[in-house]
């Protein structure tokens, strides 16, 4: 199989205007991935499927990732003039990274027996600009998995033939796999709760039901 750099170059050559980025994976598996811009994702996916050297005809896995808004604190030494003398002073810088939602596709080629190539799509934010193009027109098998990502992460797939919730019921409003999801408070009734669970348990139980040891 071609390297990720070669694939990136060929996709960019084949799909004019496509902006691809290699996302490095620092883990020992070193499974790097390709991030594609939303506007050209469908064309890039078609190229990956149809190119005779690549032939990624099988999307084995589609999943979502939630990246909440993050504030990264960094401490740096900065030169500053204190009492007329220039000194190194420690200062903390905050970098705000806006959150987003990501879809990850794992692609294999059944025909040429290679893979995986990992494709990532990113939404603009986590609130209302949470759209990515659906790749179900390219890989039919992605349909239910994209529905699952829609159900659990709230990623809206434009161009999906049947975008409905698949695991939770239709009336459900939340997205349970998001990092900021707070589940229904219905399991803390232990006989001897303590700490956080005790606070929750107290909220549930009227004082009259309290039993002394």
């Amino acid at each position: 199989m071609e390297t990720l750099e070669q694939i990136k170059a060929r996709v960019e050559a084949a799909v004019p205007g496509a902006k691809l980025e290699i996302v490095l994976n620092a883990a020992p598996c070193a499974q790097h991935s390709l991030r594609v811009d939303n506007a050209n994702a469908l064309a890039a996916a078609r190229f990956l499927r149809d190119d005779p050297q690549l032939r990624f005809d099988y999307a084995s896995n589609v999943t979502g990732v939630d990246w909440p808004d993050a504030v990264v604190q960094e401490t740096k030494l900065v030169k500053q003039v204190v009492n007329g003398v220039e000194r190194d002073v420690e200062r903390t810088f905050e970098t705000k990274t806006p959150g987003c939602l990501e879809v990850v596709y794992h692609l294999y080629s059944m025909e040429l027996r290679h893979g995986p190539v990992i494709l990532r799509l990113r939404t603009n934010d986590r609130a209302d600009r949470n759209h990515v193009p659906s790749l179900t027109p390219v890989w039919r098998g992605a349909e239910f998995q994209e529905r699952e990502a829609y159900d659990l992460f709230g990623i809206v797939f434009d161009g999906h033939p049947d975008l409905r919730r698949i695991l939770m019921w239709d009336e459900f409003m939340d997205f349970p796999m998001r990092k900021d999801y707070v589940g229904p408070d219905d399991y803390e009734w232990e006989p001897t709760p303590h700490d956080e669970v005790l606070v929750k348990a107290k909220r549930h139980q009227p004082q009259a039901r309290e039993v002394e040891e």
Binding site: W169, D174, P176, P184, D186, W189, T192, Q205
Partner: protein, 204 residues
């Protein structure tokens, strides 16, 4: 009637019984389970009904495909919140007298999924359960033990008085409200007439 006298009479060829005993004997030896399973516990339930463990010895070999013909609901497996209304509806469709065995950690408490958002923390929040079996999954022997426990419970019931079985109490409900799908959880999250959160121990 005195047990000793009854035994003496039986030796002489006189069989004495009471209507209550006869009635309970009939009920406890023809428990027809509803043939439905929800997860891996159902595999153990199937094993219990096959030749090796042979549930037929207890008069319970006829797994009925319709709730209208079933007496016993074995809630075998994880009850997800999406499935819970259907389980309650199946229970409501069974005619009285009816019994419930909650089989396995999930059916009695949510089991390993207790802290999840999508699993009901025990079917006893919506319908009355007669026998709970712990285990993940319980072995077929545990299900047989639950059967025998249920049979003993039925055999000990009196047909009159305050503690008579539910189906002989005219005002006792035989159907229970089916929970609705809400925006965040099932509505209501439990049936207060059947289940209340357990009391907290200690004053802390």
């Amino acid at each position: 009637m005195d047990e000793g006298l009854k035994s003496e009479l039986r030796k002489q060829g006189v069989f004495v019984t009471t209507l209550e005993e006869l009635y309970n004997w009939g009920r406890q030896n023809s428990l027809w389970p509803l043939g439905f399973g929800l997860a891996c516990c159902a595999i153990e339930m199937i094993a219990a009904s096959m030749a090796r463990w042979d549930l037929a010895r207890f008069g319970a070999e006829v797994f009925r495909p319709s709730p209208r013909q079933a007496d016993l609901m074995i809630v075998a497996g994880t009850v997800t919140k999406k499935m819970a209304p259907q389980v309650v509806r199946l229970y409501n469709q069974m005619p009285e007298p009816k019994y419930v065995i909650a089989m396995g950690a999930c059916a009695i408490s949510g089991g390993p999924f207790k802290q999840g958002y999508n699993v009901l923390k025990g079917i006893d929040r919506y319908i009355p359960v007669d026998v709970h079996i712990p285990g993940c999954p319980p072995r077929p022997e545990a299900l047989l033990h639950a059967f025998m426990t249920l049979q003993r419970q039925i055999g000990e019931q009196t047909l009159r008085g305050a503690d008579r079985p539910r189906h002989l109490v005219a005002e006792a409900p035989s159907e229970f409200p089916i929970p609705q799908f809400g925006a965040h959880d099932l509505v209501p999250p439990n049936n207060p007439a059947v289940w209340q959160p357990p009391a907290r121990v200690g004053k802390n």
